[in-house]
């Protein structure tokens, strides 16, 4: 075997992944080639050092308080969203539900809520608001609703992962109450769209979303 063919085989050789014929070929070359031998020894050292790294490294500070805080979240006031692109803390209660000022005309996409069903997760449209020409629409409502949907989906995913360990009767209670809340959301939302300046309706819709997230969160902690 020539030196230039060695490089690509050295790793496999050192990892014991070469078939016997090739392995003998590499061994033969190493026996009489100092350069390749040095290369092999160098790689072996790196691998040995890697294997010798301590399996355990204590974090520089105690992370338990932060973990425990996450575990004990009892109030649905701030929910980190776990997405691949990173997390950001996000507050529900401090957002105004609706700006009474003039709003842009924006197409509202149909809103989706995750329902936990026995057949698995299905997306059901909560309500799709038709675009009414000339009507002011609700940019802030859309943004806040999207945040609610994301948080609810996040919680529902966690809950789904634990379904197997939940009693079916419990799941039935959660599902039944989720349906009731979803209906309340639909009704409040429809009323709000028809009467966008109504702060009470905005508050009721926000409360209904809060109930939903609280219920999902309570269920994930069972």
């Amino acid at each position: 075997m020539k030196c230039r063919m060695m490089d690509s085989r050295l790793d496999a050789f050192l990892d014991g992944a070469l078939p016997p014929l090739e392995r003998r070929s590499v061994e033969a070359h190493l026996a009489q080639c100092a350069r390749c031998r040095a290369e092999a020894e160098g790689l072996k050292r790196i691998i040995a050092r890697a294997r010798a790294l301590p399996p355990s490294v204590q974090p520089p500070r105690d992370l338990w308080p932060a973990v425990e805080a996450e575990m004990n979240r009892a109030v649905v006031e701030s929910l980190p969203l776990r997405r691949d692109a990173g997390r950001f803390a996000w507050r529900l209660a401090s957002r105004p539900v609706l700006a009474a000022a003039a709003l842009l005309l924006v197409a509202l996409s149909s809103l989706v809520t995750w329902n936990i069903t026995r057949a698995g997760r299905t997306a059901a449209a909560v309500a799709s608001a038709p675009l009414v020409a000339g009507a002011a629409t609700l940019v802030e409502l859309h943004g806040i609703e999207r945040d609610y949907q994301l948080a609810a989906a996040d919680l529902a995913a966690t809950l789904d992962a634990r379904r197997a360990s939940l009693d079916p009767a419990t799941v039935a209670v959660v599902e039944a109450d989720l349906r009731l809340i979803d209906q309340a959301i639909r009704e409040a939302r429809a009323a709000l769209i028809a009467d966008p300046a109504n702060e009470d309706l905005g508050h009721m819709l926000s409360t209904a979303y809060r109930h939903k997230l609280a219920l999902l969160q309570q269920a994930t902690r069972l």
């Binding site: 790793d11 890697a50 294997r51 010798a52 520089p60 990173g86 634990r162």
Partner: protein, 185 residues
């Protein structure tokens, strides 16, 4: 329904709870804290090496334990808890990696790595190697840590990272040579 009449037929020998896992599965945060203390070093080491950054490693470590608490109900007692936790750590760290890693080609400043001297190992901890690993490009770093440090095979690594086996081998090839370059020349 009060049970005030005391019937002492056989008194239970109540040793302190020796197996925190059962306590944690029953929902006891104190037991889970014991599991945390027992395993955090392992989890943090893995997160640190996979991410190459101290701050990120701390975040990932927290995520791992919160996820472990939430999904402890799905843990089957046949396998060892440490293996289950290890897989979960790899999953959490690499999910984060998949989302963000591709953009980051820069070499991380060495200063970002926490001072790990003297921790976790007896005496000399190979800081130079840790720093060199942290400085690897993300793909090479992930494969190197999983293969040479953690002992996974290429097919497993390929699956976790969502790459081809050949790519995994190429990353390992590159990682080893880059490390050798950084440490020995």
């Amino acid at each position: 329904m009060p049970l005030s009449r005391s019937w002492t037929i056989g008194e239970q020998i109540a040793s302190a709870v020796t197996d925190p896992l059962e306590g944690a599965r029953s929902g006891d945060p104190e037991s889970f804290e014991r599991l945390y203390r027992e395993h955090v070093g392992r989890v943090f080491a893995l997160c640190l090496r996979l991410s190459g950054e101290g701050g990120r490693a701390e975040e990932l470590t927290q995520d791992v334990f919160v996820r472990a608490w939430q999904t402890l109900g799905t843990f089957r007692a046949e396998s060892a808890f440490s293996s289950w936790l290890h897989r979960l750590t790899v999953n959490v760290a690499l999910t984060a990696f998949r989302g963000e890693g591709r953009r980051e080609r820069r070499v991380r400043p060495v200063a970002e790595l926490p001072d790990v001297a003297g921790r976790g190992g007896a005496g000399d901890h190979d800081i130079d190697l840790e720093r060199a690993i942290a400085a690897l490009p993300p793909g090479a770093r992930a494969v190197f840590v999983m293969y040479d440090v953690e002992g996974y095979q290429h097919d497993e690594i390929a699956r976790e990272l969502g790459i081809a086996v050949g790519t995994s081998k190429a990353h390992l090839f590159r990682a080893r040579r880059l490390l050798r370059e950084a440490l020995e020349r």
